[in-house]
Symmetry: C2
Subunit: 342 residues, 2 copies
DNA sequence: CAATGTCATGGTAGCGCTACCATCCACCTC
DNA sequence: GAGGTGGATGGTAGCGCTACCATGACATTG
């Protein structure tokens, strides 16, 4: 009789304990838990009773090792505090919360290099799926995604060349629609104010430019940007800069709602009438834009829905039901409000 | 010669491949990677070369199984979109990003039951540490934390009875200081407006009440709360309710900055002078409070720092250097601004 | 100089689970 | 009734790593 090594794990029940108690083989317990349909009703009940009595919970690490597949969704976002990504994350989380998948978080800090590093780290774990923000991966990241051996969903944007699947909308169109709206409302010297200027911001700017050029209103001096991370404070400062540069400014399309809010507050402070003297349009349509005074026109983006849909597509792919159309455009909606109601 | 089973894992190099290439035992490779000090300089170099050449990355699942310890920090927060917790999460993430620890996220949705469920799920994974928001765990959750067999840090609040360690501040004191400030500034009919009313909100309310009672100003009708999740929109509505209930209201202490912003916007809309007719104090001091017009008095809370410190304490405990004082109070700071400058 | 300690290294035996294949037992089919 | 078929169940052999113990070389001690 060999003395069994004292359990490293501190005495939690294992599948063997359950099998012994239920009087079946360990593999049958494993099956009863993962594919109940393949185990007879009687044994299933017996096994369930043993599981309940022992309080057995499968060890996900052992599972992952044996099956070469971890029940983990790797999620890469460029920021944790930007509420846009927080809502995508919430959508992902909510869609996954009644499955046994766990979420492993990666924050790329808007850095391609950091994204590469994280994908490198996520790989050996054999995640069940990867959800990454953006479509501008570096060649190395792209190859890591292609060889990850699991479904990949790029989110926030749509584009012509998905690694695997995509859910998002067109930021170019968003910028264009927002700008066209302001032109339509009678604004002429419409500035673009943007911070961070990540690829999505760049495309919104391109949309702005397209609309301005089409109307014969484009002027490079109307554009005020900075690579500095976006904030309400920065919105105020950039707006001051823009106004100093172009005193005839009569409107601004803001790269996002934080910036728009900064502009709005600065208008209050400087007693600039909104929407009469200056019109303001934001991007994303955060909750508060509707409540602001005056309420702020914005492009409503389907952040939560993007998160949900990305998980739905990944789960379908895991189940072998790859969607017909790998690129899903969820669109956006222009919310016309007081800040552009001249 | 037995045919080796085709690698389940899809041909990634294993520690045995590295060992073979370097001409050493597998265990020495393992040591060179985890405790380099215990392997001679020469072998270390040899092994590193083999690792680089093969592109070897250790399998975290196998590691976790063999060592009965996953390099995972379990993080439980009540909300992903509330920017307060997003910043705590960012602090945790940043402090962990140059270690090999991964983050596994759990969203309790402010539910004790969900917290229990998540702890149950996290347990079998043998996380290296658990960071949980709040100090009001259910008895079941508390026992799960106590028996988790890893360092536990409760964050956001301080209290007398930590499961293991705590980092936070006193919400009671925060509410009290905010209210005392308003009293000092000459406000008398100071309302309390709060949404969600989770335990931390309750304690802020208690602090408000203590201050009001001490000044002989307390009146239950001044309190307007709802269990509904907090938002800027809700701030506006609760403020309208409060004003309808108590037309003589001359100030409000808001449970958080979202609410305060809603109140501010409503004051703009209804042409109520701030700070003259109504004073406003928020809680948390989000970036935008300083930029708002008028700028909004708030209690600055050390969210990011709480995240960082919680990780530092957990890492210290993992390394066997448990901190002298298990409860760390990071305090808060009253930011006096225009919204209460009567 | 034997006894003891220390250090670097390696071999063995799992960690708890599942893939793979074998077995067994109905239940058909001709 | 021989042979085939399919579904339920089990045994064996790992998955890739590390804990534990053993070994051998050398230094240290009295």
């Amino acid at each position: 009789m060999t003395k069994p090594r004292s359990r490293r794990g501190g005495g939690r029940p294992t599948i063997a304990d359950v099998a012994r108690k239920a009087g079946v083989g360990a593999i049958t317990v494993s099956r009863a838990l993962r594919e109940p349909g393949r185990v007879s009703e009687d044994l299933r009940r017996l096994i369930q009773a043993a599981v309940d009595e022992l309080g057995y919970l499968p060890d996900p690490n052992a599972r992952a090792l044996a099956s070469a597949r971890a029940e983990v969704f790797g999620v890469l976002v460029p920021s944790l505090t930007n509420s846009v990504f927080a809502e995508v994350l919430r959508g992902i989380y909510d869609s996954l919360s009644d499955s046994s998948y766990r979420i492993q978080l990666g924050n790329t800090h808007y850095s391609g290099l950091e994204e590469e590093r994280l994908l490198q780290v996520f790989g050996p774990q054999r995640p069940a799926a990867l959800i990454v923000a953006g479509i501008d991966q570096t060649p190395i990241s792209r190859r890591l995604l292609e060889t990850a051996g699991c479904p990949v969903v790029q989110v926030m944007e749509t584009g012509p060349d998905p690694v695997d699947m995509m859910v998002g909308f067109s930021h170019f169109d968003g910028g264009k629609v927002a700008t066209e709206h302001m032109i339509e409302m009678g604004y002429r010297r419409i500035g673009f104010i943007g911070a961070r200027m990540d690829p999505r911001s760049q495309r919104r700017l391109a949309g702005y430019r397209a609309a301005m050029e089409a109307a014969g209103l484009f002027d490079a001096r109307l554009i005020t940007t900075t690579p500095v991370p976006s904030s309400v404070t920065l919105g105020r400062e950039l707006f001051r800069d823009a106004l100093a540069k172009v005193p005839t400014l009569d409107g601004v399309f803001c790269n996002n709602d934080d910036i728009a809010l900064g502009v709005l507050f600065e208008c209050h402070r400087a007693s600039i009438a909104v929407p009469k003297t200056i019109g303001i349009t934001g991007f994303n349509d955060l909750d508060m834009m509707e409540v602001a005074f005056p309420s702020v026109t914005s492009i409503r983006t389907p952040r939560y829905e993007i998160g949900r849909r990305s998980v739905a597509m990944a789960l379908a792919a895991i189940a072998g039901k790859r969607p017909q159309e790998p690129v899903v455009d969820l669109g956006f909606e222009l919310k016309r409000r007081e800040s552009t109601a001249r």
